[in-house]
Symmetry: C2
Amino acid sequence: MRPKNLAKEEAIRLIALQIISEEGLENLSMQKLAKAANISPRTIYIKYENKEDLLIKLFIDEVLGKYEKAILENFDPKMAFADGMKRLWLNTFHYLRNNKPAFSLIRYGKSSPLLNKAFQDKNIQQGAFFAPIHTFLKTNVQAGLIPDLPHDVHSALLFSPIQDLVAEYFDHLDRPVQIITEKVILTSCEIVIKGILK
Amino acid sequence: MRPKNLAKEEAIRLIALQIISEEGLENLSMQKLAKAANISPRTIYIKYENKEDLLIKLFIDEVLGKYEKAILENFDPKMAFADGMKRLWLNTFHYLRNNKPAFSLIRYGKSSPLLNKAFQDKNIQQGAFFAPIHTFLKTNVQAGLIPDLPHDVHSALLFSPIQDLVAEYFDHLDRPVQIITEKVILTSCEIVIKGILK
DNA sequence: TTAATAAGTAAACAATCGTTTACTTATTTT
DNA sequence: AAAATAAGTAAACGATTGTTTACTTATTAA
């Protein structure tokens, strides 16, 4: 049989992300995607059941999967708390800064009911994303370093700001001076650490 | 001449928000909206130029306008720092908790290029949203209480977590025990305050 | 070398999209 | 009471939507 053309499969995912990032999820259509990827609409349906299936797989496997891997690079749950936090923040900053299309879809993951549901389902059925971070926080609670709060609360307190700082990095891209620098990220991370430490 | 039916105008806005909240911005269509509001599609075009105009006005005037008003209730830039922060956090929590459709569109404001651009344009041309918060932070920088960082950085550090906590409140709505309570909000706010104070 | 078969294409499907045309209704001003 | 006029409706416009049908191409296993 004729083998799959993996280059076309990758083109679909790459260009879908590009359209979402530049024009918005609400302006992505299968026909626009096919045309931009220089393939027939039918080809997308060989690789994905339908549009929702494409979006969910793009979000869960392609975007969140790679994002998780990038964030956890050189991170170990046994690291000292402040070191671990700085590693996670810098990894987030570096990865997202260089992957705007991925960041765009991640943002839609918090708005779109479809993607939000897909994320929750995945977390329940196949184990949570960012499991090492769970362990890291749990360990530091048990060590008495940080207060014992639900994981979702920890997550909001410790990682929401870095996500918004990345958004601000992109918002400032076309301006003469970039205010969101690595130094600002580290300063911000230290402020967050100071708040959570008992 | 025949006067505008204000009830219909409000129905359009209300039902548009409802559809966006339940089905997502990507599933809002003018015909669906008209049918749900029990009016002719043409009626929407009497009040709004086109779909983009409707979305932008819904976002800027209806949602962000009311949101700003609600957050600043009983807030004064001259309040003590911790008091002001707690006021802003609790106002945010109370308002958004009771206005899920508004919260949904606010979330889309950070993903959708159209809405994001509209927000930035508005902030530049007609003065920033949440101006009293600007003043509040500036005052506390000058008083030497908090570090002198760009406003966007302050904003990410001090208010990103409360937005995500509200999202988690809604995510937990159907579960037996609500973990995002007013007490958790206040505890979280105190942690953020502790981090930023010099 | 050929039979088998999945990958891929071009073109089209009904349904729906955003928007408009042609018309009626309701209200105000004269 | 009638002229003027914006608000609103029903129906339809061409374009585009997600998806499929009918067909061709490229590859592998026999």
